[in-house]
């Protein structure tokens, strides 16, 4: 009884020793939480979104707290692919944890370029593709909500790397299944669900939006029920693994995602509330599986009943 459960999962060819990563943008580029969290205990690290060129991001205020959640409109500032490789990849030489780099672009070509730049370094284990970005060429249409644009991005990224690619779906669509299927058809190794939800808050005294960017993305426990539904729906139609996220604060939350259909999960906003969350989630999943006599976390994926 209570044998050590097998916590390993695979995202394409990426092997994670447990199903827990951190959500892009909530864990910096790696070093920031290293004092508080033993990075090598994570299934993988997912770093903040990187584009081909350096990017300045939005003005402040960039975040705002809401009921059981928060808004963010950081605006994807970052050092660019070359800057990231120079500044942060050496740090990861001291760690064994798999490294997932989140990427984005303003044009399809941008996505291709950043993929090429990050395909080269061996330390980059997988790419997560953020498609919740406006396409400057197409007048701001969103890659994540227009299925043709979406395909063009996935095709482009796929054509530029053999590393596992994870497509991070936008939640604000009428039918997530179409996008999950399109990702699978275009050769993606996995999808991740969900990005933060487009939202807004207005200060009634100043009558100005609380974020400099006016709108931002809602994350945290508030959105968990939305994320669970989207994961559950996508899991009905795709065979590629799903990385589930949205308000995970506990191992129970993570197990809910796994039962809904997620092979792995990511801890996001919870890092701000409690940096030990991801480690607690890993331990909690393991002891729950052991207590239930479930041999492997993979056996639990998508086992929702009724």
């Amino acid at each position: 009884m209570n044998k050590q459960p097998d916590m390993r999962v695979k995202i394409g060819s990426l092997e994670m020793k447990n199903p827990v990563t951190v959500a892009s943008g909530t864990f910096g580029y790696g070093p920031e939480y290293a004092d508080l969290v033993d990075l090598d205990r994570l299934g993988a690290i997912t770093v903040k979104g990187i584009s081909a060129e350096p990017h300045i991001g939005n003005n402040t205020p960039r975040t705002f707290e809401t009921a059981s959640g928060m808004l963010n409109a950081i605006g994807l500032p970052g050092p660019g692919a070359a800057g990231f490789c120079e500044k942060y990849l050496p740090f990861f030489e001291n760690y064994k944890v798999p490294l997932i780099v989140n990427i984005w672009g303003k044009t399809v070509e941008d996505y291709g370029r950043v993929t090429e730049l990050l395909d080269a370094p061996a330390r980059v284990d997988a790419l997560e593709v953020n498609v919740s970005c406006p396409n400057v060429k197409e007048g701001g249409a969103l890659y994540g909500t227009d299925v043709d644009l979406f395909r063009s991005v996935v095709d482009e990224v796929r054509s530029k790397t053999d590393k596992p690619i994870i497509i991070k779906l936008a939640p604000n669509v009428a039918d997530i299944k179409r996008f999950a299927l399109a990702a699978e058809e275009c050769g993606a190794d996995a999808v991740s669900i969900m990005n933060s939800y487009p939202a807004m808050a207005i200060n009634i005294e100043t009558r100005k939006p609380e974020l400099a960017n006016r709108t931002g993305g809602l994350s945290g426990p508030a959105i968990k029920p939305i994320a669970i539904k989207l994961v559950w729906e996508a899991a009905q139609v795709v065979n590629i693994p799903i990385i589930g996220m949205g308000g995970i604060y506990s191992s129970e939350d993570a197990l809910e995602f796994i039962i809904a259909g997620a092979t792995a999960v990511a801890v996001g906003t919870a890092n701000f509330t409690d940096p030990s969350t991801a480690l607690r989630v890993i331990d909690g999943i393991e002891s729950w599986l052991a207590a239930k006599g479930i041999a492997a976390v993979d056996d639990l994926v998508g086992t929702v009943r009724g």
């Binding site: 910096g28 508080l36 707290e65 928060m70």
Partner: protein
């Protein structure tokens, strides 16, 4: 930087609207440098996902304390914190105040909780100069006697004249600065943005060094989320610097004020 489950040793009204929260913090307390802060998870406030940053007022090998004022839902909920209750803390965080330069006279300038943020620096500085405290009214002026006991010459201004001179802190600072020889003075300031900018402007004008502790809304508190950024001048223009990690204390010369 540590994450520590601290325990409440004391929680009481300090003065006016300010409360003192003293926590048993053997892992964080001994590491605190002047000007650093802690990031506090408010107990039982289950609809809040963000911690709240507070300057460390005092710290020793076993404990630390903060002074806070209720300004919103988080700080209001903090008033319910009970003695003995566990409080989850990250700290010490950020880059605090540097030592005063050789031969410089240190000058402290504080408004609001700035007095709390400057206390450890006031204690650590080997030379005690002049401390300018400003506030709306007498109740907002904290710790005068404590700073005096450390050997500081405290000058108080209040908007309503209920304590010290009536006026802004700069109304007291300016004539005093005018009397000093250039280069002999180094400023350490914490308070509202307008005050910090006024202090910074004066320092740059007079060629003095000023260290400003900046207050920005924060999410992670450790440099990961890029919420708390301010514009820092570079040779070619500016870059974002993180208030929580690269600051909160910045040299006034670095700061690009454009808001």
């Amino acid at each position: 930087m540590n994450q520590e489950k601290t325990t409440v040793l004391e929680h009481r009204i300090f003065q006016g609207e300010y409360r003192l929260l003293k926590l048993s913090a053997p892992a964080i307390g001994p590491l605190v440098q002047p000007g650093q802060f802690v990031h506090l998870k408010i107990p039982r406030l289950k609809n809040a996902v963000l911690r709240r940053p507070f300057s460390v007022f005092k710290a020793d090998a076993e404990s630390l304390s903060i002074l806070y004022k209720a300004v919103g839902q988080g700080t209001e909920a903090m008033r319910d914190i009970a003695p003995g209750e566990p409080v989850d803390l990250l700290g010490p965080l950020g880059t605090g105040f540097p030592m005063v330069g050789q031969d410089n006279i240190p000058v402290l300038i504080a408004g609001g909780y700035g007095n709390a943020a400057l206390y450890l620096q006031a204690a650590a500085l080997p030379v005690k100069g002049v401390a300018f405290f400003g506030g709306r009214t007498a109740a907002d002026i904290l710790c005068v006697e404590e700073f005096e006991a450390l050997g500081w010459d405290v000058r108080v201004t209040t908007d309503d004249g209920s304590l010290g001179t009536q006026g802004l802190v700069t109304d007291a600072l300016d004539p005093w600065l005018a009397e000093q020889g250039a280069g002999a003075v180094e400023l350490f300031a914490c308070g509202p943005n307008a005050m910090l900018k006024a202090v910074g402007d004066r320092a740059i004008e007079k060629g003095l060094t000023a260290w400003l502790s900046m207050d920005r809304n924060m999410a992670c508190g450790v440099g990961a989320c890029l919420t708390c950024v301010i514009k820092r001048k570079t040779e070619t223009g500016w870059e974002w610097a993180r208030c929580c990690k690269d600051g909160p204390v910045f040299n006034a010369e670095e700061i690009l004020w454009d808001e």
